[in-house]
């Protein structure tokens, strides 16, 4: 029976990145993945013969450091493609489009404000950049590295100068709505710019609690928050990661669902010595790394009888209700959006911030939004292998769709939502209904079941101030270690958080290699 140095639960990008760093240092690593494919929520899957899609359909802040450290470009993953234009769709064709500092479709005043806004936000995003790749200090720990991290942030803030520092402190936790209203006139522009701070979360423009900070988080990385689809698709990230880590000696097993993290009582503490699979097979290791979400990791795999009462309660009350559904359409041709030459950008359907807020209001009370708002991309325009020649895939993130529907999810409820979403789409792309060969709608409940993520939350736990930095997912486990000796966590629920970024996997590996 083989004994490993490290077992990693979950072959999402964080698990694979962590495995690669460890294996490169000579550790014997086994990655266990419950599903049959790599990638987790970014898995590329055929949803209709010849048509493939991934729940995560673009990349905005993938860690440049990880890409470089692991030399991913040598294995076919490249971040170095031109970013997609973000387009705020308007039914009569008067779109707003954004690309870096370039903006079209708004008045002169907004053009000016946008450039200033964008430069300031980028400055702030750059300020935070180093902290995403650092282990956060432990609360109450006054050791030098911990104090230094704080000091560094303080110094960086100070170096901004008095005015900018004040501004940063002011806006970081501002509701998106206030920031947008202060800066812009165009309703459509405001809606589009607030989008990235909200997507994935149970938050809307008027919600307090760090939506602006979440926006800054997404603006890190080489494209300053602009979304890209890699030349060879999202899949290429996983092909590259698999290649890198396997070459370094990592073993990957798919279809291997972990049902239990084995716990052994040491004299002084509880310790993990491996995992048990759903098949009953046990595999031993010195260390177990869980990249699944905190609730699943602790409440299900570790078991609350092995956890302390207050800690259990902190994990239990983490806010992690998924509010995003996914729509995949197989289309017999390129969809035509009114007033748009080619739909090769990231298209936002949200006419104004009220539309987002009202959509959220419905979902808050357990209903599907009467007028859903969404982000649409046609990934097959960037990557031809996703659909048969001349045909296309449409991929949409639909907000807000509650994980817990008031009258519970049924096939009928799903069909009603799907129809509503397609109706909304056809308002902007009038001929689209005729082009649909097949459609697939995944509710947060479907995402939970298909991808083993509690409540189907993209980021495992909400990206909000009380669940970020040294509080992510909660104090005591924010440094990737856990109360169980030998058990580490590094999924999206760990600092810095979700999205296809890779920093949790990178940071956790760094802690283990200390």
């Amino acid at each position: 029976m083989h004994h490993y140095d490290t077992i990693i639960i979950g072959a999402g990008h964080n698990g694979l990145i962590c495995s690669a760093y460890l294996a490169k240092k000579g550790h014997q690593v086994l990655v266990l993945e419950a599903s049959d494919n790599l990638g987790g929520l970014a898995e590329t899957r055929e949803f209709h013969p010849g048509f493939k899609a991934s729940v995560a359909h673009s990349i905005s802040n993938f860690s440049t450091k990880v890409a470089k450290d692991l030399n991913l470009s040598a294995y076919g993953f490249t971040n170095d493609v031109s970013p997609m234009t973000t387009v705020g769709l308007n039914a009569s064709g008067e779109h707003v489009s954004l690309n870096g500092l370039e903006i079209e479709g708004v008045g002169v005043e907004d053009v000016k404000s946008y450039k200033e806004y964008r430069q300031l936000m980028q400055k702030f995003a750059n300020l935070l950049n180093p902290f995403w790749h650092k282990t956060m200090p432990r609360i109450g720990d006054n050791s030098l590295p911990g104090v230094m991290t704080f000091a560094q942030l303080g110094l960086k803030l100070r170096l901004l100068g008095k005015e900018d520092m004040g501004e940063f402190m002011r806006i970081a936790t501002l509701p998106a709505r206030d920031l947008m209203d202060e800066n812009f006139n165009s309703d459509l522009l405001k809606a589009v710019l607030s989008w990235d701070g909200l997507i994935g979360s149970k938050m809307a423009p008027r919600s307090p609690n760090a939506t602006v900070l979440a926006l800054l988080f997404r603006m890190t990385g080489e494209h300053g928050g602009a979304h890209i689809i890699p030349a060879e698709g999202i899949e290429s990230l996983f092909i590259a990661l698999k290649e890198v880590t396997e070459r370094a000696g990592t073993e990957i097993r798919t279809g291997a669902r972990v049902s239990e993290i084995l716990i052994q009582a040491d004299e002084s503490a509880l310790k993990t010595n491996g995992v048990k699979l759903a098949t009953g097979e046990t595999i031993t290791a010195n260390r177990v790394v869980s990249t699944t979400d905190p609730k699943r990791t602790f409440l299900e795999l570790v078991g609350i009888e092995n956890l302390e009462i207050e800690f259990t309660n902190r994990i239990r009350r983490l806010r992690c209700d998924g509010y995003v559904a996914k729509l995949h359409l197989a289309l017999n041709g390129e969809p035509k959006f009114s007033g748009l030459d080619k739909p090769d950008g990231r298209l936002i359907i949200a006419p104004d911030m009220d539309a987002i807020e009202f959509a959220f209001d419905d979902a808050k009370y357990g209903e599907c939004s009467k007028q859903p708002v969404m982000e649409v991309v046609i990934p097959s325009l960037q990557n031809e292998s996703l659909a048969p020649v001349g045909q296309h895939v449409l991929s949409a993130h639909v907000m807000y769709v509650p994980y817990e529907l008031k009258n519970s999810w049924t096939d009928q409820a799903r069909a009603v939502l799907e129809e509503k979403v397609i109706d909304t789409l056809s308002y902007y792309a009038p001929d689209i209904k005729k082009q649909i060969l097949c459609s697939e709608l995944l509710t947060p409940l479907d995402l939970e079941q298909r991808h083993n993520v509690t409540s189907g939350h993209w980021h495992h736990t909400e990206l909000s101030l009380d669940q970020m930095f040294m509080m992510r997912p909660t104090y005591e486990v924010a440094q990737y270690t856990t109360p169980i000796l030998g058990l580490y966590v590094c999924g999206a629920g760990s600092h810095p958080g979700g999205g296809l970024m890779g920093a949790p996997g990178h940071n956790a590996a760094h802690e283990m290699l200390k």
Partner: protein, 406 residues
Amino acid sequence: MQSVEQEKTTLHDPDEVLKHSPFHEQVEKHCRLRNWMSWNGYLTARVYDTLASEYFAIRSSCSVMDLTPMEKYRITGPDALKFLNRLVVRDVSKLKPLRVTYVAWCNDEGKVLDDGTIFHLEEGEYRLCSQHHQLDWLLMSSLGMDVTIVEETHDVAALAVQGPTSYSVLCAAGINGLDKLKLFGILHTELNGFKVMVSRTGYTGDLGYELWTEPVNGLDLWDVIFSVKDSGLYDVRAIGLAALEMVRIEAGFIMPGDDFNTAETAIRAGHDRSPFEIGLGWVINFDKPHFTGKKALQEEKGRSIKRRLVKLLVEGNKPPVDSFLYDKKKGQRVGTIKSQIWSPILKANLTLADIEYHKGKPPAEIWAEIYYQKELEWQVTWARCRISKDPFWSHPRRSVTPPERF
């Protein structure tokens, strides 16, 4: 109209500020001093008639105390044992049916929330008794477990029957099977046609029992016990909380909230206490795989001792009420007296005191600064103190089975 009438009878009477226990009719009759106090919201006698005679009933004959206000929780369900073992610092898996054990429980930081007793009533069925209200903590602790927690404080009538002749009195009252009941044992029996549970437990450090029954049988139970007095052979006396306070200090039993700040009520850092710090290190089962607070307590075990709640004997006869303690007369302050009584049976000033240790050791000398009044004038004096390892009072008959008859 009828339903309104019905509702009235079940609602709390607004004129009744404090709740009446099922024994109230008798308690009120016996409580000649009308010296009442509140215990957990119940109208409770502090002293019935004479404190001295109540005290000596406990130490020399047979005392009866209304125990109903004590917090009680019924814990059942498939995960009951798992739940308790994660909750308390002691290993409950060793607690056999029909046995009782003393426990304490902590928060994650290893600071004591409360202490109490667990009764293993029958296989898989437990009662937890605590000093303070714990339902919120218990319910929070039970999240995710298949366990049912029901507060039964108001649904069980309980009497403590304590003292050297308690065994003889209860036998005379018609309770059979006590001869085999060991210390911390439970006996389910019947008395005059109703069910009574007897446990050989108490808060006095002496021979004694606690009797538990349904509230409706409360007065019958009281009558059966006091009828023994009418036979003329034994004195049986109702006692209040003042007498209990004396004997519990003699026996070295601590009172959460009086002798130490419970973690829930401590506001400032360092004002909560670990089991070690209140002298309950012996209750912790470190060989149990896991319990809440274990990690913190393991760490504390490896560090040098900072403070202890100790049994402290104060010389002389001046009452050291809330006295500060010093390492010599007018020296450095090293602690505070938390509870104190004059023990009539030991003729001594007995106290429980919080003492600061230096480099892991208690102060070589401890002196109490005592303020007392003499003819309405305050005086100050100093008294030498000694730490007592053992309880000031613990009679061997507490655990002899069968107990001696009188």
